[in-house]
């Protein structure tokens, strides 16, 4: 029942830089960017990103060491499934990294409730999980760890996360954790996700956004400016919280929830932060970035500026990861609808019994 089905190791057929439209030239549905005539911006070099993640995952030990962020976010994300009182038949984990979501689903007692002895792991509410990612090394890194036995899991290597090879109305839920910040054409991907969901099925995702790593971004800008007289992109541009609502709505999702959560990690120095990012496979992959590593002079300057501008009193350097969590539901005729604005009949203070609102 719980034997994970592994696809045989086949050589990659698809050249990485072939535009996705050439791979899937039969288009069963129109994507947002083409249907509305918006140009699809290319921001990230997906091939570089692929190589960075393969390389990172091939160093298994180091890659596991820096899973703290992905594991924490996967846990916070799967917690949100507790609020949905249903059983999920087939769930897709899009951009699965090292199957961090699968691992989080198998954690015992996800909902500590003092009145009950313990609650079953979330995996019991998922019949089958498909973990899809473009990096084979990353995806299969933890394929022989014990958690694989506790959940029905298939790993699937995608040619590119930007094009989903699934039929419409396939999944009872789509999850995605810390992957969508490398997607070039977010509107297109979101409408594809909407397409593969069954009616009235949720899409729950967490992505890095907004002010993530603003400390590193600003200090590198200052050091670039002072050392070299110009600024180069070292930290990715990220989607903003206020954009996500609009994007989800445009893709056809209903009953949206978008919220943010900051995770601040303290590092001993800026080099430790950059090394960890690299080991996570999250190095810079912006198109048109400077080739090669950052100059040593700039790194040297950056360390001083980072510490002066953002450093903690105890000598550590904080790095902010701003996570955007989003939930959207695929439209369905018999779905619960929000009531019209101003139609409330009960004062909420009567129910909650609070005092005067100041």
């Amino acid at each position: 029942m719980n034997s994970a089905v592994l696809r045989p190791f086949l050589p990659r057929i698809v050249a990485r830089q072939t535009p996705s439209s050439a791979i899937y030239n039969v288009r069963a549905y129109a994507t947002q960017s083409l249907s509305t005539g918006n140009p699809a911006f290319q921001v990230f070099n997906r091939n570089t990103k692929y190589q960075q993640r393969e390389r990172a995952a091939n160093n298994v030990e180091r890659s596991r060491q820096v899973d703290y962020l992905k594991d924490e976010v996967a846990m916070r994300l799967t917690e949100r499934l507790l609020d949905i009182n249903r059983h999920f038949g087939h769930v897709l984990d899009l951009g699965a990294n090292a199957c961090n979501i699968a691992r989080a689903l198998t954690l015992p007692n996800p909902d500590p409730d003092p009145s009950k002895p313990s609650s079953p792991a979330l995996a019991t509410r998922v019949s089958h999980l498909t973990a899809a990612d473009s990096s084979r090394a990353m995806l299969f890194r933890d394929a022989d760890l014990p958690f694989n036995q506790e959940i029905s899991l298939t790993r699937e290597v995608l040619a590119d996360e930007e094009t989903l090879p699934y039929e419409g109305s396939t999944f009872d839920a789509v999850l995605s954790s810390l992957s969508m910040h490398w997607i070039n054409d977010l509107p297109s991907l979101l409408s594809q996700i909407n397409h593969v969901l069954k009616p009235d099925a949720p899409f729950i995702a967490a992505m890095l956004g907004g002010d993530s790593l603003y400390e590193l971004r600003t200090s590198l800008q200052l050091s670039d400016q002072e050392r070299r007289g110009g600024v180069s992109t070292h930290v990715s541009p990220l989607a903003d919280v206020k954009d996500m609502g609009g994007l989800l709505q445009k893709a056809g999702f209903k009953m949206l929830t978008v919220d943010v959560d900051d995770i601040i990690v303290d590092y001993p120095d800026s080099f430790a932060l950059m090394q960890d990012l690299q080991a996570m496979g999250e190095s810079n992959a912006v198109l048109g970035r400077e080739p090669g590593p950052i100059q040593r002079d700039v790194l040297l300057a950056n360390e001083g500026i980072y510490r002066e501008l953002h450093g903690n009193e105890d000598g550590s350097l904080p790095a902010t990861f701003r996570l955007i969590y989003m939930i959207g539901w695929k439209d369905a005729p018999n779905q619960a609808q929000p009531l019209p604005r101003g139609s409330g009949q009960v004062n909420i203070t009567d129910i909650l019994g609070g005092g005067a609102v100041r």
């Binding site: 200052l222 050091s223 002072e226 080099f271 090394q275 002079d297 790194l299 300057a301 001083g304 501008l309």
Partner: protein, 60 residues
């Protein structure tokens, strides 16, 4: 494999020995970070770099 120190770690160790110079350089930049131009804090940076070069040499 872990016995081999990566270049970036060597670099970090050497830079850590220059916290005074590094902080002086940082202060110079942060004092007026809205008008940073090339070589604004050149003296401070050269002092930092000298210290780093010395520290890097001492190590190896």
């Amino acid at each position: 494999m872990p016995s081999r120190t990566k270049p970036i770690e060597k670099f970090a160790q050497a830079v850590a020995k220059c916290s005074v110079e590094s902080s002086a350089y940082g202060k110079c930049i942060v004092a007026d970070y809205n008008s940073v131009h090339k070589d604004k804090c050149l003296t401070e940076f050269l002092r930092l770099k000298d210290c780093y070069m010395a520290a890097a040499k001492r190590k190896s």
